[in-house]
């Protein structure tokens, strides 16, 4: 790589001279095209999620949120029929007390989807899918926002790559289906970030106000939002550079307007949209904070060890990311990050640790790029930051830092754009210019596409070739599954082999999740589900090492060690079912 190859900052727009553009070129250049592409991406992803949702059993936590959603839906009913009564503390406590350890926004969406899309308008024949729908929409929206930001801050091709590579992270695809908080909080982080960034690059008051409102909903989605101010403050300091100190001295610290709106409007929206904290606010907020800062440690397997309590392995987040995100995506992310740092902070071609770039040396486009790319880097760093500590829990696997992934992919888009430019510059032959982008896109996305397709419906069991795929990960002793959702993959066997009026041991599947599978017609009606092995005549076992005691309970109670059916991912047993002889 030489300086000659650096034909300007990656992602810089082509000069807009008096060039004659064809109709197609003008259309492509128009922002409407970006919005069309964004909508098409969201629609495509949504279609993929809807087509595959029925294969996926209900995860443990989904079962709890079904209950919460229904409870909130009853309060919404009351709100429309007896407003005064709905506002009483007794009503709020009764309906919003359910699952009050987590904020309400996304569960309110679950409730609305259930109430309108399932009960009233019958859009869905499956109740569970109606509950999952809002998170699926938000996941699809995240793909769109990734594209929009990438196309605006780098290039259209880079935006497309970023969006597609994000959608094609197998674990993202899995979580995108669920009636849970993980993809919604990712979505809110990304959306709030994008709107904030727009407000700082000429968006003005409307974008700043919108950022404030969105941050309120973000706060009301999940506690990841507590980390977000860290991104904003560091980003502001980075963008203002040494002038912050000078400005502060003279009492004129040009703070972005959105920081004020987020600080003021955000908490108000948070408060207004979470009825549980309308009463006894201080204590309930303190309880909420205490629940998450002192969260119980569930078990998690990593490299053959089961970790029960701190110290947790410091390698966990990094190795799990490397083992679950396609390597081509990560490779391009590293290239993009290097490029972003180099362009924004160091003289191009003068080495990574060359002198810090003067802000004056950056043109306005470059400053805009620097702002976006710094923001992405900070979002990645802050999302991962808790796992630098060995006291942070690891029980949720990769979903803990899932908020980093769209930013990883945006930086991957930057890397993609850079590589594409370099490949195009290899020759002036027109054919290279024509095929470079599609060939590069195909070669960088076909792997992630194949992995994602192969991962379904075993999202949490999926590992990349870097660790030898699922068999390699099993040999290394990486977690095979959790949350009990894999019951969905053995439902046909259960329906076929369970005796009439069977008593089914559900193991790690929450009873509410099992019940939803029955309601949705996935599991046969008439079976009694239970949490103990004794007395059951069909037993499901979801494998985690610390759960093996349950497998042995079944052996000794049923008198057999051979399961009647094994649900597997690429030959690795994940869930198995026994029938009592």
């Amino acid at each position: 790589m030489t300086a000659e190859g650096d034909s300007g900052p990656v992602g810089a727009r082509e000069p807009s001279g008096p060039v004659q553009l064809s109709f197609a070129q003008r259309l492509l250049a128009h922002r409407a095209m970006d919005w069309s592409i964004a909508l098409a991406l969201a629609g495509g992803y949504m279609a993929a999620l809807l087509l595959t949702v029925a294969d996926l059993g209900y995860a443990r936590d989904e079962g709890f949120y079904f209950g919460a959603g229904k409870s909130y839906a009853r309060w919404i009913d009351l709100l429309f029929t007896d407003f005064d009564r709905a506002m009483l503390r007794s009503s709020v406590d009764r309906y919003w007390g359910n699952n009050h350890e987590h904020p309400a926004f996304i569960k309110t969406l679950f409730a609305l989807s259930y109430k309108y899309l399932y009960l009233k308008w019958h859009w869905f024949s499956e109740e569970g899918t109606a509950f999952r729908f809002p998170a699926m929409v938000m996941s699809a929206a995240s793909v769109s926002i990734t594209y929009l930001w990438g196309s605006r801050a780098i290039s259209r091709t880079a935006g497309l790559f970023a969006a597609a590579s994000f959608a094609l992270i197998p674990r993202v695809f899995y979580h995108s289906h669920l009636d849970c908080f993980d993809m919604p909080v990712l979505s809110m982080w990304l959306l709030t970030s994008y709107v904030y960034w727009r407000s700082t690059v000429g968006g003005g008051l409307p974008w700043a106000l919108l950022a404030g409102v969105l941050y309120g909903f973000f706060l009301n989605t999940k506690h990841n939002s507590w980390l977000f101010p860290g991104v904003l403050i560091v980003h502001w300091l980075v963008m203002r550079g040494p002038r912050v100190g000078r400005n502060l001295k003279v009492g004129h610290a040009r703070v972005p307007l959105a920081l004020f709106t987020m600080a003021i409007i955000g908490p108000v929206v948070f408060y207004l949209t979470w009825p549980w904290i309308w009463f006894d606010t201080g204590n309930r907020l303190a309880e909420y904070v205490a629940f998450h800062t002192g969260h119980v440690f569930y078990n998690m397997e990593f490299l053959g060890e089961t970790f029960f309590r701190p110290p947790m392995p410091r390698l966990y987040a990094w190795l799990m990311t490397a083992g679950t995100v396609p390597a081509i995506t990560l490779g391009l992310f590293l290239l993009g990050s290097y490029r972003a740092l180099k362009e924004a902070y160091f003289d191009v071609g003068a080495g990574v640790f060359a002198r810090f770039r003067s802000r004056r040396a950056l043109g306005s486009d470059a400053r805009r790029h620097k702002s976006a790319r710094s923001f992405w880097l900070l979002c990645v760093l802050v999302s991962y930051a808790p796992w630098i500590s060995s006291n942070s829990p690891i029980f949720g696997g990769t979903k803990h830092w899932i908020t980093a992934y769209p930013f990883v992919c945006l930086l991957g888009g930057l890397g993609f754009d850079w590589v594409l430019r370099e490949i195009r510059s290899l020759s002036s032959a027109p054919w290279l210019g024509r095929i470079a982008a599609p060939a590069m896109t195909l070669s960088c996305l076909v792997g992630p596409l194949a992995m994602t397709q192969n991962s379904h419906p075993w999202g949490l069991s999926c590992y990349t070739p870097l660790v030898g795929g699922a068999p390699g990960a099993a040999t290394l002793g990486l977690n095979r599954t959790f949350w009990g959702y894999a019951t969905g993959s053995v439902q046909d066997f259960i329906n076929d082999k369970a005796p009439p009026r069977a008593r089914a041991f559900v193991h790690d599947t929450a009873l509410q999740s099992w019940d939803m599978m029955v309601k949705d017609g996935r599991l046969r009606k008439g079976m009694h589900r239970q949490l103990g092995v004794a007395g059951s005549n069909i037993a499901v076992y979801h494998h985690e090492p610390h759960m093996l005691q349950v497998d042995y309970q079944i052996w000794t109670d049923y008198g057999v060690v051979a399961p009647g059916h094994v649900g597997h991912h690429n030959g690795v047993p994940i869930v198995w079912v026994y029938t009592r002889p």
């Binding site: 490949i423 290899l426 070669s443 996305l445 040999t475 090492p545 094994v566 047993p573």
Partner: protein, 301 residues
């Protein structure tokens, strides 16, 4: 054009390489159905008393599914160790070998699809004379908690703790007075590294738990293991558990089991009784018998 610039082409090539690697790894391990075809092969190789084991260990559920109880019965799958097996049929995939068979002599090797089947011979197989876990009946055994007799029940209430709970309390057991968990009976615990171990459940009570086998065929030693349910031991609650062994009233050895001792072996010499029949008593006690999901296995050899 500088040659170095061609290195940029490695990026798309890497994408293709990762795709190829994905297909390679995804198709590397056989599906459970493939294990069903192993039965006739194993039948040709195995003799009565052979151990059939699967490696890597994570694939064992597939092997149990494919081969069934005939080749992988509970007593083998939840074995105390491999020392008493004269031969083993090792079924392996992904070029793995079982660590527990290191030092055994390889008699034959064959491949079948994605499987490798090896017959291995134990260079010095032990010959147990009497396995205590196989004699948990009133004809062979009397159990007391302190001075109180623990009655043998043929149809006790079976219970198990499900998630984070206790091992199965079997139907046939010597139930002592007091809490349900104080009994002598056969079960399987999740011992060190959550490995299954078929053993004699002996949760200590407030008084010493005395387990008396009346007519034991003696040999040079009594050898065995003690263990606590791994999940329960990790609570760190409860005290150490002491196991004392006496032959015809003579104390021949004691072992103490603490929370993180795993599946802990013991050997007590009994040469002076070798070839005779004797009375063997195990006494299990703990100063703090809370949550002590203690289990032991022993034989004479």
């Amino acid at each position: 054009m500088p040659t170095a610039k061609l290195l940029w082409l490695l990026v798309p090539l890497f994408g293709v390489l990762e795709l190829t690697a994905h297909f390679f790894f995804a198709g590397r391990a056989p599906a459970p159905e493939a294990y069903r075809e192993l039965g006739p092969r194993v039948a040709k190789l195995a003799k009565s008393g052979d151990l059939v084991l699967m490696t890597p260990e994570w694939a064992e559920p597939n092997a149990r599914y494919g081969l069934g109880e005939r080749w992988m019965p509970l007593r083998d799958v939840a074995r105390a160790d491999e020392s008493a097996y004269p031969r083993a049929i090792e079924i392996s995939i992904l070029n793995q070998s079982a660590n527990e068979l290191e030092g055994w002599k390889v008699i034959s090797t064959e491949t079948f699809g994605k499987f490798r089947l090896r017959v291995l011979e134990n260079p010095a197989p032990a010959k147990p004379q009497y396995r205590f876990v196989d004699h948990l009946t009133p004809d062979d055994l009397q159990v007391h908690l302190g001075n109180k007799n623990c009655a043998y029940r043929r149809n006790a209430r079976v219970s198990n703790g499900a998630l984070a709970g206790h091992a199965t309390f079997p139907k046939k057991r010597f139930q002592c007075s007091g809490p349900d968990h104080v009994f002598i009976g056969e079960t399987v615990i999740d011992s060190a590294r959550f490995r299954p171990r078929r053993c004699i459940w002996a949760h200590p009570g407030r008084a010493p738990l005395k387990v008396n086998f009346g007519r034991v065929a003696m040999a040079a030693q009594i050898r065995g293991y003690t263990g606590l349910s791994e999940l329960k031991a990790r609570d760190g609650k409860g005290g150490k558990v002491k196991l004392s062994v006496s032959v015809d009233g003579t104390l021949i050895g004691e072992t103490v089991h603490d929370n993180y001792d795993g599946w802990k072996g013991f050997e007590f010499p009994t040469a002076r009784w070798a070839g005779q029949t004797a009375e063997v008593e195990f006494v299990i006690s703990s100063a703090r018998p809370r949550s002590r999901h203690f289990c032991f296995q022993a034989d004479t050899r």
